[in-house]
Amino acid sequence: MLEIKDLRASAGDKEILRGINLTVNAGEVHAVMGPNGSGKSTLAQVLAGHPGYQVTGGSVLYEGQDLLDMEPEVRAQNGVFLAFQYPVEIPGVTNGYFLRSAYNEIRKARGEEELDPLDFADRMDEKLKLVEWDQDVLRRFVNHGFSGGEKKRNEILQLAVLEPKLAILDETDSGLDIDALRIVAGGVNRLRRPENATIVVTHYQRLLNYIVPDFVHVLSQGRIVKSGGKELALELEARGYEWLEEAAA
């Protein structure tokens, strides 16, 4: 589904990704771990098309197509979804309107008919249940005045509504208490399908108790320095990142 080859990217003059290689197949869950500043959030954002980064080398194929050549909205329309580490507040735009606009834009791009507000509301009922929310949240402005936990939950609600093929979760666990973590992880797990894939970017092993990865990759200084199975995450939890960083240096 996703084939990243020697990907390099910078923010301004600073090179952050220095040759990433990663292949993700349908049905797989990959965890990308690493210390602060290792480039793991940059990787997530570059895959979604964040305008703050320049790709300086390498390639990314998504379902056989050049992902880096697509505008951010085209990536989304083709099934790529990034759950933001810091979701953006949009005062004045209600969550319900936002979700329906996004959903209909994606349907339109696929040549499907748009859903009217009533049909959309029906559809929302089950999606809201998934994150244990009620309709009230649809009348609130997007992320405006939301707690940290609510913002992350709202990302998962969007994930549920848009049903992407490739979900990239960027530090979705940071700042969550245990209840919120359970809800967020539960939502992600119930949305998993054999034809979809998930990349979980995280600093801590804790989330991986809930969302169990097939593969774990450790990033350091813009490169993957070690890959392994889920047991690697436990090893990192016990030993920290230093031994890998030393090995990479």
Binding site: E73, A76, V93
Partner: protein, 433 residues
């Protein structure tokens, strides 16, 4: 050669309406003298620093002294009406009874002439006194020359069940016209009323509206005032709304400005009784070469009063927006709580804003803040929406619209708020579902 507006005025003598009482004749004469001495403001006047009225003084206008022979087409009026209100329609400043209906309004609306005949012992304390003309040439001119004034009175303890909507339509004839709408709202003690004023005219036509609205908010009374400025984009518009608030009163003002080639709104309130509350909010949406200026002044003249102010601007093309808001706290006005914000969104490189929020505080035990921003759409917010599959063009509209909608949300009447939202969305070319 045709005389310009100012040259024309120099030869005009204010018409003394029949049967006007001495105090009103004296008021008009004073206003006329004031105007003749000081004229209209120039940009050397600090209050008009960013707005030159030269285009008005150099233009030519006929007095809109008679009802134009043109008929009002449904297109002109239908789109201006507001649901759930009682409405009065004025053409060139003259009431058109056939288009007006205030049954069940729960208040009395009379022409000034009628009021003077029947009652009006308190009028000399209010008319021309709430909106002073010593500092404002346009108000002086209106006071000297207005023809048909409207007096709206809500009796003590009464609540007007529906908002009253005054619709002002300018219909110039063969040449541009000038009209002088004049309104006095008297909300007696413990009464409640909403007054909405809409200004409009045929698109592409040139005229000048010079309006004055005075509002007396009695003790414990509540007045909501909404002005909707939808003048033609070739029109000139200068208006003053001035309120005087009694003890424990509430005054809420909203100003929506979308029209006019050159427009200026002065919105002032003085809280002259303790325990009062004032809110002033507004939204200006400009494009093309429009120039729209808001000057607000909230005066805390007594202790324990609260004021809240949010003005927002969305500017495109090479338009120019001006916001000059003053919160003035007198020495006696301890325990004042004031907050003022002005946020502007520039959609183009050519658009420009001058914003000048001001606090003048002479009391020492107060809580006041103010702030202003001028910025563009947030790239990260655009990306956030794009990352959900929303096209860049729609993402920009959604954010622009959200920016505007937030301040419209302060209008409490749901039906009216929704109508104004639709109006704004339409103007911003936003798809409404």
């Amino acid at each position: 050669m045709t005389a310009t507006f100012l040259e024309e005025l120099e030869t005009t003598i204010p018409v003394r309406a029949d049967n006007e009482p001495e105090w009103l004749v004296a008021l008009r004469r004073n206003a006329w003298d004031r105007f003749n001495k000081a004229g209209l403001p120039t940009t050397r006047n600090e209050d008009w620093r960013f707005t030159s009225v030269a285009p008005i003084t150099q233009a030519t206008f006929a007095r809109a002294s008679v009802l134009a022979k043109r008929t009002i087409t449904p297109e002109l009026i239908d789109g201006l009406r507001l649901p759930g209100t009682t409405e009065l329609v004025f053409v060139n400043g003259y009431l058109v009874p056939a288009l007006s209906d205030i049954k069940g309004a729960g208040l009395t609306v009379t022409s000034l002439a009628q009021t003077l005949r029947r009652q009006g012992t308190d009028l000399p304390r209010m008319l021309g006194q709430i909106a002073g003309f010593s500092q404002n040439g346009f108000t002086a001119l209106n006071t000297a020359l207005f023809t048909e004034g409207t007096v709206i009175r809500v009796r003590s303890g009464q609540r007007a069940p529906k908002p009253l909507h005054l619709v002002y339509i300018s219909l110039p004839g063969a040449q541009p016209t000038v009209s002088y709408p004049r309104v006095l709202v008297v909300a007696e003690q413990s009464s409640e009323v909403t007054v909405i004023e809409t200004y409009s005219g045929p698109p592409e036509e040139q005229y000048f509206t010079n309006a004055v609205t005075e509002i007396s908010v009695g003790d414990n009374a509540a007045v909501e005032h909404i002005r909707i400025q939808r003048e033609s984009e070739r029109a000139f518009h200068v208006a003053t709304v001035e309120a005087r608030q009694g003890r424990d009163s509430r005054f809420r003002s909203f100003s929506l400005a979308m029209g006019g080639a050159l427009a200026r709104a002065n919105i002032y309130s003085i809280m002259d009784g303790s325990g009062s509350d004032c809110s002033m909010n507004g939204l200006y949406l400009l494009h093309g070469t429009q120039h729209v200026d808001h000057q607000t002044r909230i005066e805390h003249a007594q202790p324990n009063c609260t004021s809240r102010e949010i003005y927002k601007g969305v500017l495109d093309g090479t338009s120019h927006g001006v916001f000059n808001g003053k919160v003035f706290v007198r020495a006696v006005a301890q325990k004042t709580d004031g907050k003022q914000t002005n946020n502007n969104l520039l959609l183009s490189d050519g658009a420009k804003v001058d914003t000048k929020p001001q606090l003048e505080i002479f009391a020492d035990d107060v809580k006041c803040t103010h702030g202003a921003t001028v910025g563009r759409l947030d790239d990260l917010a655009v990306f956030y929406l794009e990352s959900r599959g929303i096209r860049k063009s729609l993402a920009r509209k959604l954010l622009t619209n959200g920016f505007a909608a937030e301040v419209l949300g302060t209008i409490p009447h749901e039906e009216i708020r929704q109508r104004l939202e639709r109006l704004v969305f339409h103007r911003l070319d936003f798809p409404v579902a």
